[in-house]
Each structure stands twice: as C-alpha cells, then as structure tokens.
C-alpha cells in the first residue's frame, strides 16, 4: 500500500511540475522587464498598445458572432436529430468531429481556393467577406465542442414529450425552439459558448492566412519582436481561457443545484 501511495504522489507531483513549471517560469519572466526588481511594466506596455486593444476587440467581436452562428446551427440540428432522425446521430456526430481531424491549415486553404477573387463567390475580395469567412471557419472549429455541449443538454430533457406537449397546446416550430428548447439547454449552450470564446481568442492559423487583424496573429507578431511583452500576453490569454473554464464550472454547478431538486 505504502509503495502504491508513493508512486501515486510521485506521478501527481511530476504532472504538476510538468504543467506548472513553464507557467510559473513564464509568469515570473513577465514581471522582470524592469532590471533588478519585479514590476508590471510588460503588462502596462501591452495594455497601452493600441494594436492590442484593436486586435483583442476584433477577436471578441468575432467570437460573439461565431457563438451566435454556431448556436443557430447546432441547437436546431441537434434537436432535430434527437427528435426525428435518431438513426443519423452517429453520422452527425462524426461530421461534427471532423474539425478535430482536419487541420485548420487545410480548412483555410480550402476556403481560399473556393472563395478567392476569381471564384464564383469571391468572399476574400472584400473585408466583410473575409470576416464572414473567418466567422464561418471559427464556427467549424468550435463545432465539436458546441455540438457535444448542446447534445448533452438535450439529453437531460425529454425532447420528444416536451415538443408534443407544446404542439398540442398550439405552438409552432419557432415557438417551440425559442420558448421551450433553447431556454432548457441554455446552460449547455453557455458552456459551449465559453469554449468557443476561448478557441476564437487564441486562434492563429485562420486569421493569419486570411490576413485579418485578430488577437492570435498579434500575439505571434509581438512574440517575434519583443522579449517580456509576449510573456505578459501569454499570461493574459491564459487568464482569459481560465476565466472561460471557470465560468463553465460555475454555470454547470448552478444548473446542477437546480436540477438536483428536480
């Protein structure tokens, strides 16, 4: 028993060091911009940079648009698959997993080939078109997480009976979706939304190759040219991701508190 415990602890400590040490080192380094003492100078420089604010708010806007688009795409799909086409579920699940298998670089080259200025639908010719393409790409990247989250949320409610109850009371499809289904999977949608947000904020490949001023390429640019600021930026973006994860936890716990008494 004692031997077991020793190995368990060693594995845990090794894991903690493996994950935490680089983070601690990076954070510590980000405080050392001023020679000889710890300071927040690197953060001050980063936050004062107009490009930081521009790229960050650009990415936040795109994240929000991505969330809206993917909710509109996944909630009705997952709902319809559960209600009417349960046999298609494995197929749909496979399709939603594809973005994990197909690398973003392949997706973006596909986009550029299909929608370049000499194509039938020259989306890359305009800024709005390219932004739309980027949102579409982000939606694809977030699909595995969003779909799974929504599907899990739908599993917790009796989709078919609730739908039939609403229909017998005279409700049409739009009313059923907006008043019954969406409010009941809102917690799941939110956790999917936070994951999507974290993905979009840090995404580099799509934004860089479509040449849009997003936060990911900005981080790369700073990283290539400065010493302390990239460390500060990395800590900030870690903070954002962790905040998103924390919000997921919070929301899930809140929903469990209400569901436990059901």
């Amino acid at each position: 028993m004692k031997g077991n415990r020793f190995w368990a602890w060693s594995a845990l400590i090794f894991g903690l060091i493996y994950f935490a040490l680089p983070l601690i080192g990076m954070t510590e380094f980000s405080f050392r911009m001023r020679r000889g003492e710890y300071s927040f100078d690197a953060y001050r420089v980063v936050l004062a940079d107009p490009n930081f604010r521009a790229t960050f708010s650009y990415s936040v806007t795109l994240a929000v648009l991505t969330i809206i688009l993917s909710v509109c795409l996944t909630v009705p799909t997952a709902y319809w698959v559960r209600l009417r086409m349960p046999r298609w579920r494995p197929v749909i699940e496979f399709v939603t997993l594809l973005p994990l298998v197909v690398p973003p670089i392949v997706i973006v080259f596909g986009y550029i080939r299909l929608y370049n200025t000499s194509s039938l639908l020259p989306l890359t010719g305009t800024i709005t078109g390219t932004n739309a393409l980027l949102v579409a790409g982000y939606t694809v990247l977030s699909l595995p997480y969003m779909y799974r989250a929504v599907d899990t949320g739908l599993r917790a409610i009796d989709v078919q009976t609730l739908t039939e109850a609403a229909q017998s009371l005279g409700a049409g499809w739009f009313t059923i979706m907006t008043r019954i289904i969406l409010p009941n999977v809102l917690v799941a949608v939110l956790s999917g939304a936070f994951l999507t947000f974290a993905i979009v904020i840090g995404e580099f490949v799509l934004a860089a190759l479509l040449n849009r001023p997003a936060f990911g390429p900005y981080m790369q640019l700073i990283g290539a040219n400065r010493a302390y600021e990239p460390a500060a930026l990395a800590v900030i973006s870690f903070g954002i991701t962790w905040a998103c994860m924390g919000l997921i936890q919070l929301v899930t716990r809140f929903s469990q508190a209400t569901r436990a008494s059901r």
């Binding site: 009976t161 039939e164 109850a165 009371l169 005279g170």
Partner: protein, 352 residues
C-alpha cells in the same frame, strides 16, 4: 353525427399493421377509455387523434371537421402525458397559460383563466412554483390544468396515472373524472389498468393486437365480455373446458359432472366448449339463488387478508372462488371435497 369520429383507421409501421380498421363514434362530453395490454395499439390510436402519428388510412373528424391531415397544433386538443411534460423553465402559472399565450389571448384573460384552472385542480397558491418543486401528483394536476386551459374540444390522456403511486392514483382518477364531468369535455383516456377504466369511463374500448375487441359500458365489458381476450383481460375469470352433451338444453359435462345451463349452446354434441365464470359468482356450499351445485375437492387455498381465495378441482381444471374472511367460520381444509354453487346465468359461453 357524433362529436369525435374515427372511421376505418389503420396504421402501418412498415409491414407491421399496429391499428386495424378501428371505428369509434364518441358523443360530446363522453369519457372513453382505451384499455389493453402494452403494444395493443391504444396509444398509437390516441396519438393519431392528437396528430403525432398520421393514419395510413381512415378519417378522424372532430366536431364535423376532418382533422386527419392537420398538424397537431391546429387540432384544438389538450393532451396529458404519462411523463407530465411540464416545461421545466416555466412556473406553474406560465405552464398553464402557455396555450393561451401561444393563441395570443389578452394578458388579463390569461391571468384570470390560469387562476380559475389552478382553483379547479386545488392548487390555487402554487402558481409561482417551478415544476421541480412539485410532487408527481401535483405536476400531473398542473399538466391537466394546462391541457384544459385553452378550452380544447377534445381532451386526450395517455396513461396519466401510471407514474404515480397507488394511493394518489385512486384519488387523482376520481378528481380527473369529476373535473371532466364538470366541464363536460369529450375525453379519451388510455390505460392498461382495468380498474381505472372500469371506474372512470362512460364506455370502454378493449383493444388487442390493433383490434377493438369490444366497445361497451363498464358493466357490459365486465359482465358480458364478447371475446375470450376481453374475458381474460378484464377482471379475474375462471375459464373451464367442458364437453357439450345436449346442445338444445345447454347441458355440458364439466369435469365428469353434468351441468345444465338452461339455454341452447350451438354446435354438435361432443364438441368442446369454453365456459367462463367470475370468482365472485361462485359460492362455497349451496346458496338459494344458485341453481347449479357440484362437488369439488379443494386443491389450494390462498389467504389474501380480507378475502380467502380457494381453488377447487373440476376434473383437470381449477375453479377459483372467493370467501370473505370471517373469523367465526373456518375455511375448508385442502383436500376436502366441498359443494360449490353458482347461477347458470352467470356462466358465459366463450366462442374462441
């Protein structure tokens, strides 16, 4: 013309015919139960009336209007489900008012109607609760109020009590029947519980394998079952094989003893016939009203509390009879031969 008409309804799932040529006319305000084992097609028939299933053939008319191809939300029906199906994101009041809100009724009217419905189901103070804060019985009452709030033409109930425990089931079924009577709403009630069907209904449709075996009032269903299936499914029943001795006089040979029913039985002498008799129609000893008395050995005795069920042998067959438990008289011993009696009129001849 009846208020709700189901004519020549058929439903196929692939090759499998689950409802076979179903016909039923329901008068306004009538309470009809569909009774049958699971898989008999009763729920499918109900769901065709609701619009959740499309009949392969046949017509459904509500108040003279053909609704067979209409979508469920255009049929003016109220439905109560086994699983309550209250909307978990809405309060009780909003659940009850949902149908009227969808119909864009004025707010004041909705509020008044919701209050009226909550009073009707005896939960006037629970409007602001959420479904998860209610017991099963309360949830099902709210579901009933929700189904009735928008004044549907037909109320459909799909095994609404089977998820509840026994005591609540009995009190709620009385309540449902009282509410149905007070509103005079045409109702179809699906159940596999014969006691529910017998105690609540104006008429019962006994279904088996997609066929309506018998349609009739509870007394007819229980007392004069038309088929062997109905006889076996509704209530306890002794079915006995007997040999026809004299078709004209209705004399049969029952385990070696001649029994005369006093009415003709079709078929040639020597043919095997099925007889059925309810346990409560058989008495221990010769009773004044019972015109048939035979001797039978006691084979088994089961003590059920207020009732003692005795199984007596008639040749190879067993006939059950019930005795009220009376501390003053001791029941017969197993193995003793006792006289048992019944009225010939209570014996049903069942055609296979």
């Amino acid at each position: 013309m009846a208020f709700l008409e189901l004519e020549h309804l058929r439903k196929f799932y692939g090759e499998n015919e689950v409802v076979k040529d179903f016909n039923l006319h329901v008068e306004q305000g009538e309470f009809i139960s569909f009774l049958g084992p699971s898989g008999c097609g009763k729920t499918t028939t109900l769901r065709m009336v609701a619009g959740f299933e499309t009949p392969t053939e046949g017509v459904i008319r509500i108040d003279g209007r053909d609704v067979s191809r209409l979508r469920p939300n255009a049929r003016d029906i109220g439905m109560v489900f086994q699983a309550y199906a209250l909307f978990p994101n809405m309060t009780v009041a909003r659940n009850v008012g949902f149908g009227m809100k969808v119909a864009r009724r004025p707010k004041a009217e909705i509020e008044a109607r919701v209050a009226e419905m909550l009073r009707l189901i005896g939960l006037p103070d629970l409007g602001e609760r959420y479904p998860f804060q209610l017991s099963g019985g309360q949830q099902q009452r709210v579901a009933l109020a929700r189904a009735l709030a928008a004044r549907p033409k037909v109320l459909l109930l799909d095994e609404p009590l089977s998820a509840l425990d026994a005591k609540i089931r009995v009190s709620l079924r009385e309540e449902i029947r009282a509410i149905q009577k007070s509103l005079g709403i045409t109702t179809i009630y699906v159940t596999h519980d014969q006691e529910e069907a017998l105690s609540m209904s104006d008429r019962i449709v006994v279904m088996n394998a997609g066929v309506a075996e018998q349609i009739g009032d509870p007394f007819a269903i229980y007392g004069r079952p038309a088929t062997r299936f109905v006889a076996n499914f509704v209530g306890q029943l002794n079915t006995l094989r007997a040999r026809l001795v004299d078709p004209a006089a209705g004399t049969v040979d029952l385990g070696g003893q001649p029994v005369t029913l006093g009415r003709p039985i079709p078929g040639p002498a020597g043919r095997e016939v099925s007889l059925a008799i309810r346990p409560e129609a058989v008495a221990l000893g010769a009773l004044p009203g019972n015109d048939v008395t035979i001797e039978a050995p006691v084979r088994e005795m089961n003590f059920l509390g207020s009732v003692i069920r005795i199984k007596a042998g008639l040749g190879a067959e067993l006939v059950s009879l019930d005795l009220f438990n009376n501390a003053a008289t001791r029941p017969p011993e197993v193995g003793a031969t006792v006289p048992i009696s019944f009225a010939a009129a209570d014996v049903l001849v069942i055609e296979d």
